[in-house]
């Protein structure tokens, strides 16, 4: 054999130690949650990597814009040859123009949304990082407790003409915050159908479908139709109140089917207004604390 016995033992020891360390960290992580040593490590890691993530985000932004633009063109049905020529001819310039126009539109939408908030304060931020797999539904944003952001603050992203709820702050450091999206199976929001005071239930990620939400606990007797708009319901029972102010748009009802397994309530699918794949700008609301 090429490898001496000692070297083989050393290799096995290194791998064994690293596996044991991983298992120990995993156990600690489950026992401590986001507090203690594990939480400290994670907050420090987010703080240290945030400036680099900002740079990486900015460096790759033109590529992302170009990709979005090209995929937008690809989905255009008519005169594809002409579009290809145009893309070749005006590609780079068009991408920059398109990106700037889209950014202005996004910020305008957020401003419009902000004007509808009344007394609720808000602070704007940008997305730094996004979870790289389907098991997690979080984004990291570039504002934290120093900007007034706190755990459980609702987060809104721009839509075509206004803003829509995308989730809530689940962790916060001085300069960054982690936002858990509505697509996370553990996230529930009290929501209702606009114009139907009795249609109030809980909205959560629909199981078995990607990017779709499910509005539950709406009684069968209540009328809900396709196309209805779903917003946060908000509630206040004595000193207990919802994290989410009422009236924040969430999505549109795309299907209302018969009864769920209990037989008392409807099964309502909601397509969110926000596109969770491409979130770049956000508004964190600061409800009265």
């Amino acid at each position: 054999m090429l490898l001496s016995k000692n070297r083989i033992i050393r290799r096995r020891a290194v791998v064994g130690l690293l596996l044991a360390a991983s298992l120990t960290l995993l156990t600690l992580s489950f026992r401590q949650g986001s507090t203690g040593l594990v939480g400290e490590i994670q907050r420090d890691a987010v703080s240290i990597t945030a400036p680099f993530a900002t740079v990486a985000h900015r460096v790759t932004r033109p590529a992302v814009d170009a990709w979005n633009w090209a995929s937008g063109l690809a989905s255009a049905r008519d005169s594809s040859e002409q579009l290809k020529r145009l893309r070749d001819q005006y590609g780079a310039q068009q991408v920059r123009y398109q990106a700037a126009t889209e950014e202005v539109a996004r910020l305008k939408a957020l401003l419009h949304f902000k004007s509808t908030l009344g007394q609720t304060k808000s602070v704007a931020g940008q997305v730094l990082a996004q979870s790289p797999n389907a098991y997690q539904n979080t984004v990291t944003i570039d504002i934290g407790s120093s900007a007034g952001v706190a755990i459980n603050d609702p987060v809104v992203a721009p839509t075509e003409d206004s803003g829509a709820l995308i989730g809530k702050v689940s962790q916060v450091t001085s300069g960054q915050a982690i936002v858990t999206l509505l697509l996370d199976p553990q996230t529930y929001v009290s929501a209702g159908v606009q114009g139907e005071p009795n249609a109030v239930g809980l909205i959560k990620a629909a199981s078995g479908q990607v990017g779709i939400l499910s509005l539950e606990l709406i009684p069968n007797a209540v009328h809900v139709a396709e196309g209805d708009v779903v917003t946060t319901a908000g509630f206040q029972v004595k000193r207990l109140s919802s994290y989410y102010p009422p009236g924040i748009p969430i999505g549109r009802v795309t299907s209302v089917s018969g009864n769920d397994t209990t037989g008392d309530t409807k099964v309502i699918q909601v397509t969110p207004f926000a596109d969770f794949r491409y979130i770049t700008d956000v508004l964190v609301l600061e409800p009265k604390r």
Partner: protein, 179 residues
């Protein structure tokens, strides 16, 4: 040795940051490319299991920390992946007195490593109590992640090969002590 360590640390940091900051938005079908597994496979092939396992551990830890996933989850997957690739890719290499064969081809092992990492991650999540839908995970995470990792590997592996050049065939000839 020290230079190698510095290069590995830099690669781990840069790839982990890019994995969370840049690639998710370039993955239209979900399941972004796994940049750390590309590094782990490259090191397992060209630098041996220790370097690959340490890089995998550090990369996984960093990824879990940045994304607030349970610490140790990705590390466990990447260390296992490093061990598997290093062990099986170098199985049946030359014995004493024989010319060592050239290093194994990287791309097939990258596909194997990426698949192992995706399957390992799924198994861990199921063991820890997640109930993901198999169909969704396959089409929106596992399959696109393997495909995108492989495609990106076509670009990254040659770069990593320059950084971690495998030992040449002649230098791998075992020294035979004179009788």
């Amino acid at each position: 040795m020290i230079l190698d360590g510095v290069k590995i640390a830099l690669c781990v940091f840069v790839l982990a940051v890019f994995e969370v900051a840049a690639t998710p938005q370039l993955a239209p079908f979900g399941g972004g490319p796994d940049l750390i597994v590309i590094l782990v496979v490259a090191l397992a092939l060209w630098r041996g299991v220790e370097a690959a396992a340490i890089a995998g551990f550090a990369g996984g830890l960093l990824l879990d920390a940045i994304t607030y996933e349970h610490l140790g989850m990705a590390s466990l997957v990447y260390v296992g992946c490093a061990w598997a690739v290093a062990t099986y890719a170098h199985r049946g290499e030359a014995g004493a007195g024989m010319l060592a064969p050239p290093p194994p081809r990287a791309l097939p092992w990258l596909v194997a490593g990426a698949t192992a990492a995706q399957v390992g991650s799924l198994v861990l999540h199921v063991l820890l109590g997640d109930h993901p839908s198999a169909g969704i995970l396959f089409w929106h995470q596992i399959a696109p992640a393997i495909l995108q990792t492989t495609l990106l590997g076509l670009v990254l592996l040659p770069l990593l090969r320059r950084l971690f050049r495998p030992p040449s065939t002649m230098s791998r000839v075992p020294r035979i002590a004179a009788a």
